[in-house]
Structure formats: C-alpha cells, structure tokens
C-alpha cells in the first residue's frame, strides 16, 4: 500500500474535543511558564467535558519536557511525545496524537503549550548553538528577524514582491484582531504605518514582525467514537502532514520556497481527500508578514510570487471570500515564541461556531499550517466539523 493509503486509514479517526488558552494572555510577569501550561490543560479538559485525570497521553514542545508537565499535573501518562522542531511542533503533534489514539496507545491526548516568551518567568533557556555558534552568531545573526529577512529579500528579488505587499498582510490581519477581545492590538493599521514603523532589519519594520507575549494553550483529542460523548461538537482531524528540511537557512535548498511546507501540505490534503479550492478558512503561522504568502506558494495554493494576492482586495479579511488568520495572528493577537498551538485553537473554535464577531459564516473545512524555525519544519492539519 502506498504511503497515502495508509494515511487515509487515519483520516477522521480522532477529533479535537477541547481547546483553550491560559486564563490570561499578553504580558504576565506574575505567571510562570508552568502555570501557563497547567491553566491551559485544565481549561481545555473542562472545555471537552473531561477530567484532567482522564488524560493518558501528553504531548508538548519547548523548555518543559512532557515528563515535567505530567509530574506537575499529577498524572501518569502511558504515552508521551516531546518532539521539538520549532513553533509548528504542536501541529505536528496532531498527527502523532491521532496515530497514538488510533492504535490505543492512549485514549485522551493533550497537546499543551505554555511559554513565558516575554517575561521569561520560570524559564531555563537552553539553546543548541553547535552550528550557529560557529558560522552565524559571530556575524550578528542570532534571532528570527536576522534570518527570516534573508528568505524575504530573495523572494523580492526572484518574484518582484514589494514592501507594500508584505505590509498588506499586517493590515489584513489587524482587521481580524480588532474583532478578537483576546488580541493584543485592536487599532486599525494602514500600509503607510507599517512601512514607516521603526526599522528592525530591512526588509522588516517592527510591524512586519510578530508580537512577543506570555501565554499558553492546549487541545484535547480523543477517538471519534468517544468524541461524541464530549461536551462540544467534535472537530474531525481529516488530514495531517509534517516534514523537516533544515535548521540553518543556508541549507534551505528551494529558498525562498519551503520544501518542508510543500511536503507537509501535500500529504495533509491527500490524506483528507481535499484540494486547495475546498477550504473556507486558513490559519497560517505568521511570525513575519512574508511567512503566510510563502506558505501559500509552497503548498500550491498560489503560484510562486502570487501568495500575497490572497491578502489583497479584502479577500482574507472579515467578509472576504477566504478568511485567513481570524484570531489576529502572531502579528496582532499573540505570539509566545512557539505560536503553533494558537492557530489550532482558532480553527477549532471557528469550526464549532464559537467566534462571535469574527465568526466565519458556514465554515466547514479549515487548514492549519505552521512553520518551525525559518520554514525549517512544517506541520499541517486539515480540520472539519463534518466527516
């Protein structure tokens, strides 16, 4: 059997039944990173109508291991996963969780994220600098904006994309943030404001770069048969994909497009049995304004160089034909450092119809795609409120 046939077998076998953020989000110097995890898990279990003691699978990425989360939570999981390949790790874990659930390696899986990314409370930072420390750090590299701009200037060179077009992504995303009470920023933005904001690293002004916040989030998954007994309408995991290509941008061979994103997106859509035109909602990891357009191009939604058109003429904004980043994104809602949990929560809420002023009407099929590092790793989930 081909790879995709095996994956088809996993489609719709498990559902997201709980989704929640930490009690508070934003700038939280009074709250530890572990507290952000535990609030999120507790809230997500309550949202699912399940008890924390029902959890027997723990999936997490970042500074705290799944063992430490389990200990702090006071449960003894029979399945753990600590895959840590950047901010998309939580999206990749949806694939890992449905596989584990399908084989009864666990019955209730929690994917959890907590990050005191802004205030650094209760955090031990351990960074692997074995390669970057030799070949990149001595030149002044050392934070995401110092690397992602390289991908972006190459994109501008090859396809003629402009600073105004990247700015449009920030402007569109802010329109959604205005409708999300949990978003950090609500005031409308103009292209001119984005262009004239403080220059951080050309081609990026500060408004092209995501927020840095403190927050947590968790989702709960269980097999489809059990999902029917949970508190809320189940959200089916129809397809998943993942891939990892590089860590250093020098090893990203298709730069400015991402091989990992292409592979991940293709697999998720094949597993789900859907194609690009079927989606009515997209969540794309927006650490930088150029990220979502490059993801759309890498996954084949748009031709190379044309991803930015998805953000033009109101297409992606409230009332538009294909809403993108309806929570306000990493650019205007929240971005802890490893953002991948939050687009999963938003897609779940949209598919349940819980989003109030920002609810996308009649949404049935949502795609969540995230990157780890500099488009280094990718995770994709195709979610639906119908089988």
């Amino acid at each position: 059997m081909a790879q995709h046939d095996f994956m088809r077998e996993l489609s719709n076998t498990a559902c997201i039944v709980g989704a929640a953020e930490s009690d508070e989000m934003g700038i939280l110097p009074h709250k530890s990173q572990m507290a952000l995890h535990l609030e999120s898990i507790s809230n997500a279990c309550a949202d699912a109508g399940l008890k924390v003691s029902d959890v027997d699978g723990i999936f997490t990425a970042g500074a705290h291991s799944p063992a430490l989360i389990a200990e702090a939570l006071g449960v003894t999981p029979r399945y753990v996963d600590g895959t840590s390949v950047g901010g998309c790790s939580f999206i990749i874990m949806v694939e890992h969780a449905i596989a584990a659930l399908h084989h009864h390696l666990c019955d209730v899986a929690v994917i959890t994220h907590g990050e005191s990314g802004r205030s650094q409370v209760g955090v031990t930072r351990v960074r692997d600098t074995s390669i970057a420390g030799c070949y990149e750090i001595p030149y002044g590299f050392g934070a995401p904006p110092t690397w992602f701009g390289l991908i972006t200037t190459r994109h501008m060179h090859e396809y003629g994309t402009t600073l105004e077009q990247w700015a449009q992504v920030a402007v569109s995303t802010r329109q959604w943030a205005a409708l999300n009470p949990k978003a950090m920023y609500h005031d409308p933005l103009t292209i001119d404001q984005v262009l004239k904001a403080k220059m951080i690293a050309y081609p990026f002004t500060v408004l092209n770069i995501c927020l840095v916040t403190d927050a947590g989030g968790a989702i709960v998954l269980t097999r489809a048969d059990r999902a029917r007994d949970c508190a809320k309408k189940p959200v089916y995991v129809r397809g998943t994909g993942e891939a990892t290509e590089h860590v250093s941008v020098t090893q990203m061979h298709g730069l400015p497009l991402s091989k990992a994103t292409r592979m991940s997106g293709e697999r998720a859509m094949k597993m789900a049995g859907v194609s690009h035109g079927d989606f009515d909602h997209l969540m794309l990891y927006d650490a930088f304004t150029s990220g979502p357009p490059i993801m759309l191009e890498s996954m084949g939604f748009a031709k190379p160089g044309e991803g930015v058109s998805f953000f033009e003429n109101g297409k992606s904004t409230p009332g538009g034909s294909l809403p993108i980043n309806t929570n306000g994104g990493g650019l205007s809602y929240t971005h802890t450092g490893m953002y991948g949990m939050f687009p999963l929560i938003e897609a779940t809420r949209q598919l349940r119809g819980e989003c109030g002023a920002r609810q996308v009407p009649n949404v049935k099929l949502s795609l969540v795609n995230g990157m780890g590092g500099m488009l280094s790793a990718a995770g994709t989930a195709v979610l639906s409120n119908e089988k």
Binding site: T129, S130, I131, G133, C134, Y135, E136, I137, P138, Y139, G140, F141, G142, A143, P145, T146, G149, L150, I151, T153, R154, M156, H157, E158, K198, M199, I200, A201, Y202, P203, F204, S248, V249, T250, Q251, L255, P256
Partner: protein, 141 residues
C-alpha cells in the same frame, strides 16, 4: 581589512578543523565529496548530497554572489560591536555551498545592495586562533 569585535566561534567540531586552520592562512577551505564531486558547507563527516563518507578538502576561489541580505538596524547580539546599520548576508559560493557572513565595504542602503551581485571574500583576523571570512562587492575585471 577591518578589525571587528564579535563573539568567537564556539564550540568547534573536530571535523571542521581544516576550515578554521585554512582561514588563519587566508584560505577558504571547503569539504568536497570524492564520489559525487559536490562541495558542502558547513563541514560534516558525510556528504549531505549523496551521503558518501569519501571526502576531501578544496580551496574555494573566494568568489560568489550575494544570494540574500538584510540590513540590521537593531542588534540582537550585543557581543557584536559593529556599528548599526550593517549588512547580514547569505553568500552563494562559486563552488555551490551557501554560507552566512556580512557584506562589508558598501553603504548599508537597500538601493545599492542587490541579490546576485558578485562578491569576493575578505579575511579578518580576530585573534591568533580565529580569522573570519567576510565578503565585499567584487572588483570589476
């Protein structure tokens, strides 16, 4: 050549020793696969193109092109004392591999810096143990 204050490369992998030793003699050394013929960077004990372990070292020409760049206006690395703004660069060497460096001896102005502009290596000695390769616009022939 300018003397720049910056963090020293660390930690060092033994398989990269010929690269660092070469720099001390103003040579840019690259590992090359004796089976597929391709060079790679950063140095490894296995060819990332064909996975052969049959490697040798070659001296690169030091010529290449600016594959991509950024102009840094805010420091993310206080140990680098270069005055802002300066140019972060991805160089594609003539031999194929890409590496990160700084583009120097050019005004840090996006109107003057273009992807694919030809560049050449400039060596800068940090101390007796470390010399780093930087790049500047290639001189016209």
């Amino acid at each position: 050549m300018e003397q720049l204050e910056r963090p020293l490369p660390a930690p060092l992998a033994p398989e990269a020793k010929p690269y660092w030793e070469g720099l001390k003699q103003d040579k840019l050394m690259l590992p090359q696969c004796k089976d597929c013929g391709k060079a790679h960077f950063y140095p490894r004990i296995l060819c990332p193109h064909c996975h052969s372990r049959n490697l040798t070292w070659i001296e690169a020409s030091g010529r290449g092109k600016l594959y991509a760049f950024e102009i840094l206006h805010r420091s993310f690395n206080p140990a680098v004392k270069t005055p802002l703004p300066y140019v972060l660069a991805m160089i594609e060497l003539e031999e194929g591999p890409r590496m990160l460096s700084n583009l120097i001896n050019i005004k840090p102005d996006p109107a003057l810096i273009r992807c694919d502009m030809p560049v050449q290596v400039v060596y800068s000695k940090l101390n007796d143990n470390f010399t780093l390769p930087f790049f500047q616009p290639a001189k016209a022939n």
